[in-house]
Amino acid sequence: MTNLAMWARLKSPWVIHFNSGACNGCDIEIVALLTPKYDVERFGIKLEPSPRHADVLLVTGSVTKQCTDRLKRIYDQMPQPKFVVAIGACACSGGIFQGTYGVEGGVDKVLPVNAYIPGCPPRPEAIIDGVVKLLNALAASTKKAPKAASKEEPALNAEIEVTEEVKPDAKQ
């Protein structure tokens, strides 16, 4: 059964894209992935609108201070098992904006990152290459994903205080 689960996870990675303060260069290359020339639906990759539906979080941008909290929240809303891919030089390390007052400087200061795709912006081929490498690395790893457990959480965009602290889980 585990093999079947792993096979299904590798063949159907649903992504959600979050721009944490990018110049749009990486984002339009990500959207270009859905277009006929690159077409990632061949791999089963679908762009999902809701964080609750997605497995992989694609983050672009150098994580501005205003976006930090939102980025964490979106990561928390995703169900396990989940992976984070940092796309672009800004997401990897802050890029050209390293040291400016508005940015944290890289996604790994906020979330555990599973794959880094450098470039400014990376070509769509590079992004596909990175995602495929991530999937292959997952296939090669023999770790079992954490057991799918039922969890209770505040709903998206709910107007209530977050009473329990939900910690981002350890690196996969």
């Binding site: 959600i16 979050f18 721009n19 944490s20 303060g21 990018a22 110049c23 749009n24 260069g25 990486c26 984002d27 339009i28 290359e29 959207v31 270009a32 859905l34 277009t35 006929p36 020339k37 762009l47 609108p49 964080p51 941008g61 150098s62 501005t64 201070k65 205003q66 976006c67 909290d69 939102r70 979106i74 890029g95 050209i96 904006f97 040291g99 400016t100 007052y101 508005g102 940015v103 400014c120 912006p121 070509r123 965009n157 107007e159 205080e161």
Partner: protein
Amino acid sequence: MPNNSIDIIRILETKLCGKPVQIIPGQLGIVTVKASVEGYRDIFKVLIEADEKTAISAITGIDLGANIGVFYHVRTSNPLLTIQVEVPKENTTLRTISDIAPSAALHELEVTDLLGVTFEGNPSTGHLVLPETWPDGIYPLRKDVNANEVKLNPEPPEEKSDEGKLVKIIIGPQHPALLEPEKFAVFVEGETVRKVEPRIGYVHRGIEKASESRTYIQDVYLVERICGICNSCHATGFVETVEKILKTEVPERGKYLRTIILEVNRLHSHLLTLGHAGLEIGYEVLFQYFWRDREPIMDITEMLTGNRVISSSLTVGGVRRDIKDNDIPKIRAVLGDLRKRIPFYTQVYRDEPSIRARMQNVGILKRDIALKLGVVGPVARGSGVNIDVRKDEPYEAYGEIPFKVITKDAGDTWARMNVRMDEIEESINIIEYALDNLPPGPFRVKVPRAVPSGEAVNRVEAPRGELFYYVKSNGTTMPERVKVRTPTFANIPAFLTTAIGEPLADVPPNFVSLDPCFSCTDR
């Protein structure tokens, strides 16, 4: 209505004689008027009376040591003019001009946010671009503030607002409709929008402050990454301003090459928007087709500059690389293919019933409101306002290349998209003309690394509208102040007005027709 420069100076001299102002022609635009804190509002009244196209292009705040300078850059039917006011740091209060010029409201808020000047009478409050956790009283653009050392407050709790029977829907920061993070709190009653409260600043990286600690050449790369989509325009705006301070003349070939790169940039941006609009109205096929036809344009960009998206090919003094002779027929071939697709797409946008059902009479912006709010670009041209920096104040090779400015009168989403559709053909014409008439010779001149003291303003026509730059140099290799005002910043008030009273389902197409680029807005 005066439409040549001498008249505006004479009008100002006549109407303002006796007032404590100093009129300096030829500086920072066509004329600079240095005014006092009490009297500057009268100048606006004079200008607005004289010309209906008067609008605030940008408001630059600058730390001048003991004072803070507030420069109002005003756009009229003429080239830009500037009104300078200085407030001492001890008493940074000015009366607002947003009552006489509504286009100023958002600009004033930015100066308040980043430099600490309070504008009495401006209705907006709170931070504009700085994050919620930024401590009050610390203004990043002041020279004595080391913005990197600022300690942020803890995250403020979500405010619960009681709007009665209005349902608050938050669009963003992560939302399928938006490529970028911005938050719009839309208050709906049933399905009708009653109020829209924007919160921008999610993409604020502090570029203006960062540009002061990098050399001019490094700043070209920094400034390009304000926006990946219109990156060449940002680069052009910046290098042209620096060239104005240096009083350098770019060789003819360089100007033509820059024009070609700018127009290729415009092509890819318009194709992007037209496809994205398809996504918003649920018409995925349109999105796929437009983006498929956009890929050859990215190939041209790569041929010309070496990069698909961020071109990095402009520099102070010209362009960095020449066009290869055997690339020119390839470029022409791609443009020829795109030209053949244009009738199909134009017909789709004109005749397809579902597009018309979703876009016609949606988000109507009337001409007088467009003029009052100072909107720019295809948003203005879709409402019948004929402004285009390429014609009003020609730069690069635009003065020599014949082309039309496209305007439509309806003022709805459909008109705005049709303007962009028609501008694609004009861009192709411009590029082909430029390729036909490419002058031989050098494409770049060497410029000194340290720029002598001076300041200049400059405007370029980005795909989204008028892009404004102000650069002040102090004789070193690093600029003293760089101010950028992007077109989406000027167009946001238009969106807020047109969304009210419309159904919620119309908000995405309306929003996309604005062609927002928040990384431009927040910098």
